[in-house]
């Protein structure tokens, strides 16, 4: 318990309520050192989780997490908080199942309620070919002990009454892949939980510190960068910091950061948009996903409907969002739930997703010694945060690629052994 410094509990709420005493800071703004054992670029979920597990599981605490903005300001704060493990490939299933397990115990582990809601996750099938893919996922899931099954329209209606399951719609609901442990998590709380725990274990969280370059030595490329070289540190907006290990835990900027080390990536960056309605009394009990209609939706405890879609077709680093996203989204949502036309969309936003050719991440060591990547998460980064942190920490601490991420190494693009997750990925939330 002491690793959190100040333990939160109902008793503490009572005491602070009575005394009106101030709560302590969740994390500090430390003075940076000139060198660290490990520098992690990116103060989002992945970077903070990696730092936490380095300290917690491996005792490596001379670690800095650097971020150009505030903690969790990128994809960690812009996703729709869905967690699940009903993937298509055995590699994917094993990996995300471990993540879901970490989410299940996170509130207790980190002593912060991340508001996990295991409300059940429905992936709708509107065509017989979609139904076949759902069957495929369900059968693979069952063999790997994942709670996952294909259900019919009547059962879909029972679980989520507001869905229109009548047979004569443009996109009839023929069935769904039902994943009871899937659900949503308060995304920001996960970031804060890891930040608070890592900070207390001695990790330095350096906010508003932008990495301008990665310094290398001995590589094939200019300035000693590129294959064959090794990392010596980073150059930041607040000065140079040396370190034998630099980990790229960024999303949206992974290509740009990786180019600083002379390691090109199989990534194109696309915006993923989301939107939220004004609150209404709760009526939607599950997470509903429709791949054919490019939409997923859940209702928060505050009553807002949170929507997401597939990534924008045009690659860009802009996060302004588009009107057409909201138009298509609304049309598709109303295909599923025609009765909610009068709900109002209140805010739209957008985050950046680094898309890889096989919709799977790029993780672990690279041709530059000491430069590691945890990138290319596409639209799956939030679900994977905890396990990505755990496996990256293991890979850094032991020097060996953790078994769960062996399929995700950077070599697979030169070896031609891509991961088969793309088939199920069109809108994979």
């Amino acid at each position: 318990m002491s690793r959190h410094g100040y333990t939160y509990s109902a008793g503490k709420l009572l005491r602070h309520g009575l005394t009106r005493g101030a709560w302590p800071r969740m994390w500090n703004r430390p003075e940076r050192r000139d060198s660290y054992d490990v520098i992690i670029i990116g103060g989002g979920l992945h970077g903070l989780a990696t730092a936490y597990y380095l300290a917690q599981n491996h005792g490596i605490t001379n670690v800095a997490v650097v971020d150009k903005g505030y903690l969790g300001g990128g994809g960690s704060g812009r996703n729709t908080g869905i967690v699940r493990s009903n993937y298509l490939t055995p590699e994917g299933v094993a990996f995300y199942d471990r993540s879901l397990h970490l989410y299940n115990t996170m509130a207790a582990d980190l002593n912060l309620n991340v508001m996990l809601s295991r409300r059940g996750h429905l992936t709708l099938a509107h065509t017989d070919s979609a139904l076949r893919t759902m069957n495929w996922r369900a059968e693979v899931n069952k063999l790997l002990d994942i709670d996952s099954a294909v259900i019919g329209p009547a059962e879909v209606k029972r679980l989520t009454p507001s869905l229109d399951v009548s047979p004569n719609t443009r996109y009839p609901i023929l069935g769904a892949l039902y994943h009871p442990p899937g659900g949503i998590v308060r995304h920001d709380a996960v970031v804060w939980g890891y930040a608070r725990a890592a900070d207390h274990l001695g990790v330095h969280l350096l906010q508003e510190t932008e990495v301008l370059d990665i310094t290398c030595d001995g590589g094939d490329g200019p300035d000693g960068k590129g294959p064959g070289g090794k990392v010596t540190g980073v150059r930041t907006s607040r000065g140079d910091i040396s370190s034998p290990v630099v980990v790229n835990c960024t999303a949206g900027w992974a290509s740009l950061i990786s180019n600083m080390a002379g390691v090109p990536l199989a990534i194109t960056t696309h915006p993923l948009q989301a939107a939220v309605t004004e609150p209404c009394k709760v009526f939607l009990p599950t997470v509903v996903v429709s791949g054919s209609l490019h939409v997923y939706v859940s209702q928060t405890d505050r009553g807002e409907l949170v929507f997401g879609a597939s990534v924008d077709p045009v690659g860009t680093y802009r996060v302004n969002g588009t009107l057409e996203f909201t138009e298509e989204l609304a049309g598709h949502v109303l295909e599923l739930m025609p009765g909610i036309s009068k709900m109002r969309l209140m805010r739209q936003w957008s985050g950046l997703c680094d898309m890889t050719p096989d919709y799977s991440p790029i993780m672990g060591h690279t041709p530059v010694e000491g430069y590691l990547v945890d990138v290319g998460w596409g639209t799956y980064g939030f679900k994977a945060g905890p396990v990505a942190g755990e496996t990256m920490a293991e890979t850094i601490a032991t020097g060996r690629t953790a078994e769960l991420i062996a399929a995700f190494t950077i070599d697979r693009f030169t070896d031609g052994d891509l991961v088969g997750e793309k088939g199920a990925a069109a809108v994979g939330h």
Partner: protein
């Protein structure tokens, strides 16, 4: 909805077209090594700035053409090799 200038149809809403991504020169399949081939398949420059890319005038003249677009601002300018 950005405006993309088709050489035949003039400035059009981007929904009339399809973005076919960053231009990647195709190596000679007879002589390319697998490593070169897979760099062509998978590696992209993906810059936060000007990129030369292909668009397809899907709802108009069906022409494929290249333009330059700034991925940080969505500004568009003519490509030298369009």
């Amino acid at each position: 909805m950005i405006v993309v200038p088709c050489p035949n149809c003039g400035p059009r809403n981007s929904s009339d077209l399809r973005n076919a991504g960053e231009v990647a020169p195709r190596p000679d399949p007879e002589t390319a090594s697998l490593t070169e081939w897979r760099s062509y398949l998978y590696l992209r420059e993906n810059p936060a700035g000007w990129v030369t890319e292909t668009w397809y005038c899907r709802s108009g003249c069906r022409r494929y053409f290249t333009i330059e677009r700034n991925t940080a601002t969505n500004e568009i300018r003519e490509s030298e090799n369009s």
